[in-house]
Amino acid sequence: MAEARAEINRPIGLRLWLSAGWLIALVLTTLLAPVLAPQDPLAQDLFTSRLPPFWIDGSEPGYPLGSDSLGRDVLSRMMYGGRVALSVALIAGTLTCLLGASLGLIAGYFRGWPDIIISRLVDIWMAFPPVLFAILLIAVLGTGLTSIIIAIVVIDWTRFARVVRAEAIGQGAMDYVASAQVAGHRRFGIMAQEILPNVLPTICVLLTLEMGIAVIVEAILSFVNLSISTDQPTWGGMISEGRLSIHQAWWVLVFPLIILFLTVLSFSQLGEGLKDRFDPVLK
């Protein structure tokens, strides 16, 4: 037990700060992309095609991380691609959270038939392979940023609903809820004022994790050419193109892959770090 305690109390600052720092830097860079980007991300120029990054012979000053087979600047495209990735993370993550957490809260606190319906839906949803479900929905909704966001919300709400439901059931059994009921508070009020604040830390952790997942889903959809229009730069789209010319121009694949890797890792580590900070028992 003593050993377990020591593990919980270990310093958790570093990974929290590293991941938060990376994400803040990323947000600033993408916001300032019009100022910072050395080139127009869409400008094609066959004379500058497949330029290597700056430390390799044959590179050009305006293309620090090289260019792709159509002569577009890799760094500028990554900056603009970050806008798509972060918008999807923020909007899709938040909406998924709102839908899933509300349903989970209702199911867990009210129980009865709302719980039966919601739990049955969760079961059905869990029987779908998520990537296939996403591709199917994009085929139905058409490509575009809105479709991707809708697809993520429709698929991933169960992540929130399952966990929040379980937490709400636990909280609902506590004495303070019973006393609030005895005191004559309305059930909906108890849910919003007593239960919600107590499951909020869990919801925050899940939200952070969901943002990382949303970035990946967007990349996967870009990878199968089902994301947004092909001329708007996205990380997944760059990776997909880079894979085709991997032997001629590895940098088109490697740099977006590193950025994607670090971003997903940061969201996840941020979530894990918050988990430790909010509630040591949750581990």
Binding site: E3, D123, I124, V131, A139, I220, V264, L265, S268, E272
Partner: protein, 336 residues
């Protein structure tokens, strides 16, 4: 009697889930823009031709009617005919399913070996730098999904140091004398180790990509339960009797620490199978998931339905098997 009732109620839940999946996929894909029939015919096909084909595939009827016809077919084992391949959907699905199952099971084995090793190494070396390294490695492996690991592997072992195949299931030049689609198992049974080596060399990269996140989950949980078990009295007793640390961990702690991990592996295995869809695409592995993406792109509605139902069936069956195994291993839950 209560056991029979339990099994019946579980089967009912499974049936309801599968029915729900069928309803959702059936109605969702019928909203897909683009006429699947128009895509089959050459440009300039007459209106009558289109109508005739629509009638052949049943697309001229209302959607609930189509669902009824499809469902009664499914209950008799008829999943319809693929529009693009013009073969029975069931045949197509069954021809690809073995590839996906072999890949998933291979990935599961790799994950158990890697995760188990990490957990044991971390426990044996607890309190040292090695444990810290194990923990950090686990954290990274866990945070990054299979799709990204796949890309990293393509880069490392396909381009930088090309030792493994990163595309396909088997070298096309090989002559396959097989009667089933379980190539790996059959190559083993027929003692064709040349083909088996080729299959494994193709399978290793996608399987590893699928395995890495699961291995981290296994390592994390198993290490945690091992550490908890090591504080129990009977382990201390074994220590005082002069067993070595390795013996204490492997013989005394491991058997008792393994149960929670087993349950988790079951749940995570369905996630792994879901991951095969994009991993098969990434490695051009000819499995069910790769076929599913093609089916969506080609608007092959009967094939999409068949594949989704097959995945849902696998998921629910795996989940039920996990419940059952857990109940068998843990007597306290048998009448739960």
């Amino acid at each position: 009697m209560s056991l029979l009732l339990q099994i019946l109620s579980r089967l009912m839940t499974m049936a309801v889930t599968l029915f729900g999946v069928a309803v959702i996929v059936f109605f969702v894909i019928r909203v897909v823009p683009g006429n699947p029939i128009a895509m089959m015919l050459p440009p300039g096909a007459s209106v009558e031709d289109i109508a005739r084909l629509e009638a052949l595939y049943g697309f001229d009827k209302s959607i609930p009617e189509q669902f009824y016809i499809w469902l009664s077919g499914v209950l008799q084992g008829d999943f319809g005919t693929s529009i693009t391949a013009r073969q029975p959907v069931l045949d197509l699905v069954l021809s690809r399913l073995p590839a996906t199952l072999e890949l998933s099971v291979m990935a599961l084995l790799i994950a158990i070996i890697m995760g188990g090793f990490m957990a044991l190494a971390g426990t044996r070396m607890r309190g040292t730098k090695t444990e810290a390294i194990v923990d950090v490695t686990n954290g990274v492996a866990l945070s990054v999904p299979d799709f990204l690991w796949g890309l990293v592997l393509v880069l490392l072992f396909g381009v930088l140091w090309p030792v493994f195949h990163i595309s396909g299931r088997v070298s096309p030049a090989l002559d396959l004398p097989f009667v089933t689609h379980f190539y790996l198992i059959e190559s083993l049974l027929r003692l064709r180790f040349d083909i088996m080596a080729d299959l494994l060399s193709h399978m290793f990269m996608p399987a590893l990509a699928l395995a890495i996140p699961l291995a981290a989950v296994i390592a994390q949980l198993l290490k945690q339960s091992l550490k908890e078990t090591l504080h129990l009295d009977y382990v201390t007793l074994a220590r005082t009797q002069g067993y070595s640390e390795n013996q204490v961990i492997l013989r005394e702690a491991l058997p008792n620490a393994v149960l929670p991990t087993l349950t988790l592996i079951g749940v995570q295995f369905t996630f792994l199978i879901g991951g095969t869809v994009i991993i098969e695409r990434l490695f051009s592995y000819e499995g069910l998931g790769n076929m599913a993406i093609d089916a969506v792109i080609n608007r092959d509605l009967p094939l999409i339905q068949g594949i989704v139902i097959m995945f849902a069936l696998i998921f629910t069956v795996v989940n039920r098997l996990v419940d059952l195994t857990y109940a068998l291993l843990n007597p306290r839950l048998r009448n739960g």
